[in-house]
């Protein structure tokens, strides 16, 4: 895929979003819409993106968008799909676009319902690993040892990040994939593949956040890339909940460069770091076993 072929004037994300400098979630939307095109309706709950889009009467997106209640993304998307189908408009992609709080936490029940029914929606979670729009509060997507305003230095988050991909796989959805803003080609290929499949498709998209992760805005891509290289955020796909495919087999890099690049991890003790590394290694081994060594690199 030639990235240079995408010109600004054809972008469905127009200049003038309300995000912070270096916002990973803005890139996430741009890359996604590059593939989905105009025949797309976006459903977004409360979250960074309901601010990024702009203040009425302005919008930086030139596809139809509905901003919905926090926990209703998947259910509203299911209703939109049903409404469109009832009117014979079954070709339109309904993109449910929620952050980690809106997906892992408050929106999870509705997502589970839609996945169980296999509603024909594309659900993308842009994961910045905390409630960033409300000012950096921990979610169940926040990694262990991480600082947020509700897991302060005196009480850094003890729990691991919730395994959302495993949970979606257990629902048996036809397609689930992890992706990162640091690898747009991989992301776009996954969105494209998702478009060719009917039913509930889920993409877990890592979108680094300079404001909440406490790194310089110009490091957004680099930090997200380090998450892949250190095997903290592996890129893989799951088909029908059964066929696991690994998309990248990075040479093992220590987690330190990733953690040290971000202020949110600077209060971790050496013990916490060691435990973090152990978790990463264990999760990686489990993943590789599920993928039976199959590498489906792009």
């Amino acid at each position: 895929m030639n990235l240079n072929s995408v010109h600004m004037e054809n972008d469905l994300l127009k200049p003038g979003h309300f995000g912070c400098p270096g916002c990973g979630a803005a890139l996430a939307m741009k890359y996604t819409l590059d593939v989905l095109g105009e025949n797309t309706i976006v459903v977004m709950p409360a979250g960074c993106w309901s601010t990024l889009i702009g203040i009425y009467p302005y919008s930086c997106l030139s596809v139809p968008v509905i901003s919905v209640a926090f926990e209703t993304t998947a259910a509203t998307a299911a209703g939109i799909k049903a409404g469109l189908e009832a009117q014979g408009k079954s070709e339109t992609t309904v993109l449910a676009w929620a952050g980690d709080g809106g997906t892992f936490d408050i929106g999870f029940q509705a997502l589970s319902g839609a996945a169980e029914r296999n509603d024909d929606i594309l659900y993308i979670c842009y994961d910045n690993e905390a409630y960033m729009n409300t000012g950096i509060q921990r979610s169940s997507a926040t990694p262990s040892g991480c600082w947020t305003t509700t897991s302060p230095v005196s009480a850094l988050k003890p729990q691991k990040k919730k395994n959302i991909m495993g949970i979606m796989a257990a629902h048996g959805v036809p397609y689930a994939a992890s992706a990162s803003i640091s690898d747009p080609q991989d992301l776009k290929a996954k969105v494209k593949k998702a478009m060719s499949i009917k039913g509930t498709r889920f993409i877990h998209l890592l979108a680094s956040c300079p404001t909440g992760w406490r790194h310089a805005p110009e490091l957004t891509i680099e930090v997200a890339r380090q998450a892949i290289k250190s095997r903290i955020f592996p890129l893989y796909e799951i088909e029908d909940g059964e066929k696991w495919l690994l998309n990248a087999m990075p040479e093992k890099e220590s987690i330190e460069s990733y953690l040290n690049a971000q202020g949110r991890f600077k209060n971790m003790t050496p013990d916490m770091m060691a435990a973090f590394q152990e978790n990463v290694d264990a999760d990686w081994n489990k993943l590789v076993n599920k993928c039976q060594g199959a590498l489906n690199a792009r």
């Binding site: 302005y58 139809p64 509905i66 209703g79 009832a86 009117q87 408009k89 029940q109």
Partner: protein, 387 residues
């Protein structure tokens, strides 16, 4: 065509006659028969519609909002706890101007668990911006769902059709089934000018500043106030076509009455019977059924109350620490308009206790004599309270 059916079945059949395009369903007693019936109707192909088995009432309303946003006619039914769970999205549906029609079976809220009739569930949603209609009988359920869509789509506001748990949901009555062609004529397909449409991309529900926010709310409030007249206009057209009247209030012997008894839902039947009994005893009683609670038919109430000395309000609900909710509404509507009238509020029939003509007569006697079985608590008198 005439048929015997329960209120829950009538609600489902009315949704079919209204040719709803999306049904979102979650079971809760005593509404469940409605969504079961619709599953059957859609399953066997008698209605071309999408049926979504959602995982909660919150998602039922959310998916109705999504469907309505695309320009589809959406329907759901709920009750009690389910309605309470929907609270957040009820505000959303009216704020987004989605003309959804929802049937609510009025059932008591827990704890303790109780499946029987009580109006606190829907009356505690009265500030969510939904048009609220309370049915008196099964025919009223059938007809008001159809009128409901007509009004909802003309003003772009959602409508809640309320029917009393078991008294209507599970009571079979003989009713007239409207002819499909005539319903189609009364209720044309829904084609909103603004919707989620890839050929005309628009953004709905963005963040908005304080200045515009208050204007949006003001417009909604003004539209809502006009719904009293819009409903009566639609009801008049419905009456022309189908010969049945379903207005925002229903009166009996009000003109020469000295005492006016006000109620909502099926209690209005008992109240109406009590008026006959009281008149027989020489008491100049009249009755008024408020079928619409939101918007509140202030002008109609004021006109009906003029010249009366006493009003009795029967509330199957309560606002704890205040009084019956309808009593408060009536007092607020009459404030400054009828200063001489006494308003006596009774909290009666909650949690499924029967309201009968006899029980209403007792309330009237207590109002006249100043003593009786009902126990005073603040501004309300409670019946069926253990000593």
């Amino acid at each position: 065509m005439k048929k015997v059916m329960m209120g829950t079945e009538a609600a489902a059949l009315a949704a079919k006659l209204a040719r709803v395009q999306v049904v979102s369903a979650y079971p809760i007693t005593p509404q469940t028969v409605t969504v079961e019936e619709l599953a059957e109707i859609i399953g066997r192909g008698d209605l071309e519609a999408k049926y979504i088995n959602v995982e909660s009432e919150h998602s039922a309303m959310a998916s109705c909002i999504g469907a309505a946003a695309t320009g589809a006619r959406a329907f759901t039914a709920t009750s009690s706890q389910g309605l309470a769970l929907m609270h957040e999205v009820l505000h959303y549906a009216s704020g987004a101007r989605m003309p959804i029609v929802m049937v609510n079976a009025n059932r008591a809220l827990t704890p303790p668990w109780n499946l029987y009739c009580d109006h606190t569930d829907s009356l505690s949603q009265r500030d969510t911006g939904w048009i609220q209609y309370y049915c008196a009988d099964v025919q009223d359920v059938m007809d008001s769902v159809i009128i409901g869509y007509r009004v909802a789509e003309s003003v772009l506001l959602p409508v809640m059709i309320n029917l009393d748990a078991f008294y209507l949901t599970h009571t079979s009555e003989l009713l007239e089934i409207p002819d499909q062609k005539e319903v189609d004529d009364f209720l044309p397909p829904y084609h909103p000018s603004e919707k989620l449409d890839v050929d005309d991309p628009r953004t709905f529900g963005n963040v908005c500043g304080s200045d515009l926010y208050s204007s949006f709310k003001f417009n909604r409030h003004k539209t809502m106030l006009n719904v009293v007249d819009r409903w009566n206009e639609a009801a008049a057209e419905f009456e022309l076509k189908f010969g049945r009247r379903h207005e925002v209030i229903e009166k009996k012997h009000t003109e020469d009455a000295d005492i006016l008894i006000i109620g909502i839902g099926t209690a209005s039947g008992a109240i109406s019977l009590s008026v006959d009994q009281l008149r027989h005893e020489g008491i100049a009683a009249g009755s008024l059924r408020l079928s619409m609670i939101r918007p509140f038919p202030v002008r109609f109430l004021q006109e009906a109350v003029g010249g009366k000395s006493k009003i009795i309000v029967v509330d199957r609900d309560v606002s704890f620490g205040a009084e019956g909710i309808i009593a408060q509404e009536v007092k607020a509507a009459l404030f400054g308009a009828s200063s001489d009238v006494e308003v006596h509020g009774f909290v009666s029939g909650i949690g499924g206790n029967d309201i009968t003509a006899d029980s209403i007569v007792q309330l009237v006697r207590q109002t006249i004599s100043g003593s009786g079985m009902a126990v005073q608590a603040g501004n309300s008198l409670w019946t069926e309270v253990l000593p």
